[in-house]
């Protein structure tokens, strides 16, 4: 399971949803990103977009789908599903869930249940550093070359250059040429005199 754990709360009642959010906020033992969904229609979208690790959902909203279907839909067998139980429900229907949280559970109980489902954090993968090729491209960009010119200069296809540039942006979180210039100077890829030529 990746860290922070991505949790999606599916609960039509705004009171219960906000309540769960507030309890999760108070449990500061687990690092998590939490999203809330009030409308079951949005669940499908969320499974594709947010790719949650864990769903906390009101069993009533799931009447038409089964948990298995849901996991299949998410394309993630590791997806854990917790039922948020707010009334008497049929034990059999809750069996499909990985865990059940009752609205009367204490914060400690909820914490225990969540911790039980979440595997130990893997050491976070260090963000890959910029490759040599990407460095070459950075230098070209700050010299003011267009993508096409870069492609010619480095004997690459235009498509490759664009994909390199996308990777650079996402690795460095810098999207502008002026920003790349600063990065390049800090990392001694260029001297300022090279650029102003």
């Amino acid at each position: 399971m990746s860290y922070p754990v991505k949790i999606v709360i599916v609960e039509p009642s705004v009171i219960l949803r906000s309540g769960i959010l507030s309890v999760l906020h108070r449990l500061n033992t687990i690092q998590m990103d939490v999203f809330e969904i009030g409308d079951i229609e949005q669940l499908k979208l969320s499974l594709n977009w947010q790719k949650p690790d864990l769903l906390i959902l009101n069993p009533c909203v799931l009447s038409v789908f089964s948990i298995q279907q849901l996991k299949k839909e998410a394309g993630n067998n590791q997806l854990k599903c917790i039922a948020l139980q707010n009334s008497l429900s049929d034990l059999m229907s809750l069996k499909a869930y990985d865990e059940v949280i009752s609205i009367y559970d204490s914060a400690e109980q909820i914490n225990e249940k969540l911790t039980g489902l979440i595997a130990k954090p893997e050491y976070e993968k260090r963000q890959e550093s910029v490759t040599l090729r990407e460095k070459e491209i950075i230098v070209c960009v700050i010299k003011g070359l267009t993508n096409k010119e870069i492609a010619e200069e480095l004997h690459l296809s235009l498509h490759t250059v664009i994909s390199h540039r996308r990777n650079i942006s996402s690795k460095l979180q810098i999207h502008s040429t002026a920003g790349l210039t600063i990065y390049a100077i800090v990392n001694k890829l260029v001297e300022l005199s090279d650029i102003n030529k």
Partner: protein
């Protein structure tokens, strides 16, 4: 037992309470030209004394307070003249005070031994300022004087979309600049660099609020 105070401000609320609970509201006061030293007077009284439209004042203040913008009711009554006055002063604040002040502090905080790098950093900042200036002066000269004759209805959405896109870009630039300073600028962690970063963090929030006022109050009021 925790105590919570929720809800929007009303004209009968005491102005000094508002400032105590939300100090960034001071910016709204100065942009409307409301002086401090108002004792225990209410928001409404002070607005009337200062010739400020109370509804507009409250609309802006409440925009700062409300987290869920979608919950904002569309029927806030704002006076377009007051709003334009506010926005012009706000532009003036960024262009004549806030951004030059940050630049000044920045030059003082940068490490003397990094001449090349500092040049690039200041160049980045100056480019950003030019972008902000172009956008704000365009609004001052081409939008505000003609608020009465701007396109209505159908064209408004298109217009609004263009506006908020520009706003997003400006905010993104400043965020990127801040991240570059934090992640890549090899500075000693000095009080000076902290202070300029705090200013940039605040300025980011102020810009966002300014843009929110334009997107959520100005555009719909046209």
């Amino acid at each position: 037992m925790n105590k919570f105070r929720f809800g929007k401000y009303r004209e009968t609320d005491v102005m000094s309470d508002l400032i105590g609970e939300n100090y960034p509201a001071l910016l709204v006061l100065s942009r409307f030209g409301i002086a401090l030293g108002f004792g225990d007077k209410s928001i409404g009284e002070i607005c009337r004394d200062s010739g400020v439209d109370t509804d507009t004042f409250l609309a802006i203040v409440n925009l700062m307070v409300v987290e869920d913008r979608t919950a904002l009711s569309a029927d806030v009554r704002v006076s377009i003249e007051s709003l334009v006055k506010y926005l012009r002063n706000s532009h003036d604040y960024f262009l004549s005070y806030r951004l030059p002040e940050i630049r000044k502090k920045l030059t003082e905080a940068l490490d003397e031994n990094q001449e090349d790098l500092n040049k690039a950093v200041l160049e980045y900042f100056d480019k950003f300022v030019i972008e902000v200036k172009t956008h704000m002066l365009y609004e001052n000269k081409k939008v505000f004087p003609f608020v009465r004759s701007l396109p209505k209805d159908g064209k408004k959405e298109k217009y609004a979309a263009g506006f908020s896109k520009q706003h997003e870009q400006i905010e993104m630039r400043l965020t990127e600049f801040k991240n570059i300073l934090i992640k890549y600028y090899p500075a000693q962690s000095t009080n000076e660099i902290n202070s300029v970063l705090f200013d940039i963090f605040n300025c980011e929030k102020e810009l966002t609020l300014h843009n929110t006022v334009e997107d959520y109050l100005f555009i719909p009021a046209l």
